[in-house]
Amino acid sequence: MDNIIEIKGLHFSYETDDEEKKPVEVLKGIDLDIKQGEFVAVLGHNGCGKSTLAKHLNAILLPTEGTVTVDGIDTKDGERLFDLRQCAGMVFQNPDNQIVSSIVEEDVAFALENLGVPYEEMRRRVDDSLKAVGMYEYRLHSPSQLSGGQKQRVAIAGIIAMEPKCIILDEPTAMLDPQGRKEVLATIHRMNREKGITIVLITHYMDEAADCDRVVVMDKGEVVRDDVPEKVFSQVDKLKAIGLDVPQVTELAWELRKAGCDISPEIITEEECAAAIERLFAG
């Protein structure tokens, strides 16, 4: 499969406002390729640069050095800015601060209105997107009547309406209750599965990352690990060293292994863990 996102030698720094004007380097040389249809989680501690990286993917920020290419479009190419943003949609943490209109369906239509999509086409895409996230019956509601999870799904619908190839979600569940988190994650996974949309999920929840195809771990502006979740989480001590947790079951397996049990370190789901422990007792 082709790469939809190609990041080469990405550096980003900004100048501080104080008198010294000392530049702060946030991203220190990132190389990353993401394939069409992949579901990638980007993990990292606060301040590791993961949100900054996300903002580079649709030209909200431009690299100080290096290049970012999305679907063949260089993010520095100002002429194709709208093509780029249509191709790579972005969902943010706070659902309240990204909903523009006081009527759900009009908010979903916002991007299409900006792009000048004709009415019939817009109507169809708005209805389809709302159905895709399961919010169709709320189309005439006001966002203030919705729960956090519902609002976030409306925000996702607003992005899907652009028919993007790739969606970047910057900690979309950080402000939600467990129920809302579940709804939003299920929606994202369905978009990936059914529509083949590439997903870049920025998160600090380990269990969210465990369900992905690939996990990219960032620390201090660099990519430190990039592998399937099983491999990434099996190195519990390395993750702990950079201030990250691992899923509880992985940690349990790791502790058991340290205590001398013969158990695989690559356990990330509860089912796997239960089965492995059962085998331990049997053997």
């Binding site: 972005m90 943010f92 601060n97 209109s101 006081s102 299409l112 209105e113 000048g116 009415y119 006001s142």
Partner: protein, 267 residues
Amino acid sequence: MLRDITIGQYFPGDSVIHRLDPRFKIVITILYIVMLFSGGNYLCLAVGAVFTIGAILLSKIPLKMFVKSVKPLFIFLLITAFINLFFMSRGNVLLHWKFIKITDEGVNTSVFMVVRIVLLIMGSSLLTYTTSPITLTDAIERLLSPLRKIKFPVHELAMMMSIALRFIPTLIEETDKIMSAQKARGAEIDTGSFTTRAKNLISILVPLFISAFRRADELATAMECRCYHGGEGRTRLRQLKSAPRDYIALGVTVLFLAGVIVLGRLF
């Protein structure tokens, strides 16, 4: 407690008046105001009253809502009446006591003015009762769109209005939270002298403003991500389509206006 504040005074319904094209409703309201102010006698006012009552009945909104709309302006009405009553020097003197002089003309004008203003308030309330704020904003944008030619930022203005409407409930909720948080820390908001309360209000306003600025910043980024670039080349999901009933309503209003002007000339 803050949640009780309703923004705009939209009274949802499905009457003929509700279904009129909002652009026509605004134009009709303007014509209605002209109608009220162009007739100088009671006959004209009676025609205006018939028009108002007719529209109110068609809207199927309970009459007490309109009484409620006049209430906040009661003092204003009172002042208007008094000024006309005491400062009108023309006409036959009805009462003369020390420096107070009331003439029949004075009584006449004050009654006339009060009725006119009451009708004005009721008529314009009908517009906000039957049209949601967001529809109203939309209609204003479209009515003002010719002004774009002289570089008047019509779209930007409408966008600001609709974002303000969108964020009012959010900010109210936030104010509620901040108030509770500050109360939990011992801030006196409901008690104390006026000055202490005013001072303590700062402890609510500062965090509210900071948060509003942060929201604005995030919203701007989110709008950019969704390809917002001003009003140029925008299409709309909400289509305003005028139906025959809109033209009928406009026609009726124009007839009433003409009638009032003619009556004003004749008598």
